[in-house]
């Protein structure tokens, strides 16, 4: 069967602004929303958009990410010789192949794409929270006969200078690209989503290699080269919830928004589901002393304390007389008795011992790392 589209999810970044949350795992593998990891949104979008061939390009601390993605079966991707494929650095007769940038990562994996021999390659990033029908964007790309279509989202004008913005003409053709401009001419920010007609992109990447030109990054190198050569580049406008969760504060606030049952993402929509790998665990057990209000709780939790406007991921334990408020607790964390947690993110498998206080502010969210222990005999780090 001919493969029309290959999606490449670039999931290699360290996400260093997430501090200790990404010390041992890649950013796309960071938990989100109780039942998910960040990359689930991009993977589910692929599945819901009808893409079967999805490569996850990864190089930073990939163990958790790789096990999570597996063969893609959790997202229904393991069908028709397609499925999720993990692409990681490797060596060849040409030497070792680490990835120097987004476009370089694609070039280094050109063998994978050539085997699939697609018409189109969709470049996605693995670290945004959104629901998007890429098939509609692909239809647009085809209709325009574009060699490149860039996904853009309107941002408030006053924030536009924080983004790479696209200036378009009246037909939505991109005529200029400004990276974090002081005086933005447009408020259309790049989402880091590119649809390339593969034959053309392949030419650019291969030529650059033979001519020793740098074609490492899509934004810095490829897009300008396309513009210089008057390729037909179009902007495809996305309207809807889209959030980068690259910092502690944005990760926290995205989770807090997510609690709202009327959240724009509509997580319970059966027609556009967000899939994840589901752990094997027990039901949620709320004891006689539990008080749970305006919160999301996941299977495997055991709650004897109070939970208020928070998200508890699977297998979290909350002891008696403890209060968890305005917080996001990652899977398998254990919270003892008489603990107060407020405006915090607690990492996977962390242990908060009895009688501990962990209180952050909106400007400085309290963070407990992966497997970290707080209170009790251990020092608070």
């Amino acid at each position: 069967m001919k493969t029309e589209t290959v999606a490449m999810i670039l999931a290699g970044g360290q996400g260093s602004r997430l501090g200790k949350l990404t010390k041992q795992i890649a950013k796309p593998a960071v938990p989100f929303g109780g039942n998910y990891r960040i990359i689930d949104f991009a993977l589910s979008n692929c599945a819901n958009s009808g893409f079967n061939d999805v490569a996850v390009v990864t190089q930073y601390q990939p163990l958790v990410l790789n096990r999570h993605v597996g063969n893609g079966s959790s997202w229904g991707l393991n069908r028709h010789n397609g499925g999720a494929t993990i692409l990681q650095p490797y060596s060849s007769v040409d030497g070792e192949k680490f990835f120097k940038g987004t476009a370089h990562a694609v070039y280094q994996n050109i063998d994978y794409i050539n085997q699939k021999n697609p018409e189109y390659v969709v470049i996605l990033s693995g670290d945004h929270i959104y629901k998007m029908d890429y098939e509609k964007m692909l239809d647009y790309h085809k209709k325009q006969g574009a060699s490149l279509t860039v996904g853009v989202i309107p941002v408030p004008w006053e924030e536009a200078s924080r983004f790479g913005v696209m200036n378009t003409d009246k037909t939505d053709r991109i005529i200029e690209f400004q990276e974090k401009p002081e005086n933005p001419k447009s408020n259309l920010a790049s989402m880091g989503i590119y649809i390339f007609t593969w034959a053309r992109l392949k030419q650019y990447l291969s030529d650059s290699q033979s001519k020793s030109r740098h074609m490492d990054d899509f934004g810095h190198d490829v897009l300008p080269a396309y513009l210089r050569n008057s390729e037909s580049i179009f902007a495809y406008s996305f309207e809807g919830y889209w959030k980068d969760v690259g910092t502690i504060e944005s990760l926290w606030s995205a989770n807090m928004e997510f609690i709202d049952p009327n959240h724009e993402l509509n997580i319970r929509d059966r027609d556009w589901r967000v899939y994840s790998k589901n752990p094997n665990t027990t039901p949620q057990f709320l004891t006689e002393t539990a008080r749970v209000e305006n919160s999301m709780i996941t299977d495997g939790c055991y709650i004897a304390g109070e939970v208020n406007h928070s998200i508890l991921s699977h297998n979290v334990k909350v002891g008696k007389n403890s209060v968890v408020k305005d917080s996001f607790i990652m899977p398998n964390a254990v919270i003892g008795e008489n603990v107060t947690i407020e405006k915090a993110i607690v990492g996977e498998g962390a242990r908060i011992y009895d009688d501990t206080e962990l209180i952050g502010t909106e400007k400085e969210i309290a963070v407990v790392g992966y497997g970290e222990e707080v209170g009790g005999y251990s020092d608070e780090k």
Partner: protein
């Protein structure tokens, strides 16, 4: 451990007293404890014993069971290499319980083929209606230590823990320490108040002994079940022992015992005994969102699965997936199965709602602990107490 056991699940179980819950499903696929079905317990025992395959014998079409089991991958039974769940619908088997027809010859042949093709040394027989979490590895260890040919799992219970006309049987042991089995006896004939060794209908048996009995059973047109194996082994005077199980056990025999078993889970000791005592219990998990508890939710000692939205009061109850509970709904001592909707201003106490039941605004239902009200699948309950069957 390499593949050493050939498990046979006898799922032709007594289901009449569990109607209407068993109208369209075998006992093995009865929902339990928010996320499970009864078959998950023997299957998880098999997983933890690293079994590679299982043969199932059921009556009827088995659709709901097959839909749950699928390839068996959740329980490690889908290996491309010698693995698989082999299903056999024994249409005639059930009527033969009443003795009026002969067994289909394939009944014996299917057992024979499964066991001989397997490279296992032992056959393990199990059912699903005696809810428990059995460690087969320990059973096998005991079996080998005793140089036993047949070892049957039992639990010490009181006669009163079983219903009056129970179909289960008790082991008569030589003495409790040795565990040697002397006889098997119908419990229905025993007096209340007696303590007894309940035959848990779970057995490990040497492959050769299994095949020996199979030949006799075929000749004499007998059922292949644990009771008959015990009788046979006793007759042949071969070594047969009982292995004591000390964990949580409940015989699911009628609506009340089914209801009680679920309610038992709200007791932490029982919950931990079943789910955390031995090895984990695995079930087919479905993609889901976390459960949302609104500002008006009041919860007290209750269990929930993912994917619910709760705005009312839920006490001493078990709530399955995708259930919505409206504001000012009051649910107490009840079991609410998946896809049910309980609208606002409703009152449910001692009630079992099967899947996809709709309780309309203002409706009230109140059963008793001994006689909970059961609403069948797809039923609708109106405010005036009218019930429309699904």
């Amino acid at each position: 451990m390499r593949n050493k056991i050939a498990p046979i699940l006898n799922l032709v179980e007594f289901e009449d007293k569990l109607k209407p819950l068993t109208n369209r499903r075998p006992v093995a696929s009865l929902p339990f404890a928010c996320r499970y079905r009864l078959i998950d317990f023997p299957f998880s025992s098999l997983y933890n014993a690293e079994a590679e395959s299982a043969a199932l014998f059921i009556s009827g079409s088995g659709h709901s069971l097959y839909d749950h089991i699928r390839s068996g991958s959740v329980w490690g039974l889908d290996s491309l290499v010698g693995g698989g769940v082999f299903t056999h619908s024994q249409v005639k088997l059930k009527s033969s319980r009443s003795g009026d027809t002969k067994h289909d010859p394939f009944y014996y042949e299917d057992h024979y083929n499964y066991v001989t093709k397997s490279k296992a040394d032992y056959v393990v027989m199990m059912g699903s209606s005696l809810l428990s979490n059995i460690q087969i590895k320990s059973l096998m260890q005991f079996h080998n230590d005793k140089n036993s040919e047949v070892t049957v799992v039992y639990k010490k219970v009181l006669r009163s823990e079983l219903i009056k006309d129970t179909v289960h049987s008790a082991l008569i042991l030589n003495n409790e320490n040795s565990g040697a089995v002397e006889a098997v006896k119908d419990i229905a004939t025993m007096d209340n108040g007696e303590s007894l060794y309940l035959n848990m209908e779970t057995m490990i048996i040497e492959k050769k002994t299994f095949l020996d009995y199979l030949q006799k059973a075929r000749t004499d047109d007998m059922d292949i079940n644990v009771d008959n194996f015990i009788q046979y082994t006793l007759e042949m005077e071969r070594p047969i022992y009982g292995y004591e199980y000390t964990g949580y056990l409940k015989a699911i025999e009628d609506i009340k015992s089914y209801y009680d078993a679920n309610m038992d889970m709200l007791d932490e000791d029982n919950f931990n005994a079943l789910f955390y005592r031995a090895d984990p219990v695995r079930t087919r998990s479905k993609n889901s969102a976390p459960t949302y508890y609104g500002e008006t939710a009041v919860i007290e000692n209750a269990q929930f699965a993912n994917d619910c939205e709760i705005f009312g009061t839920v006490k001493n109850s078990l709530v399955f997936r995708k259930v919505t509970v409206g504001e000012n709904a009051h649910i107490e001592s009840s079991i609410i199965m998946q896809d049910s909707v309980i609208e606002e201003d409703t009152y449910l106490k001692h009630v079992i709602l099967d899947k996809h039941v709709y309780v309309k605004k203002g409706a009230r239902l109140e059963g008793t602990p001994d006689n909970p009200i059961v609403i069948s699948k797809n039923g609708v309950v109106y405010a005036k107490g009218e019930i429309e069957k699904g």
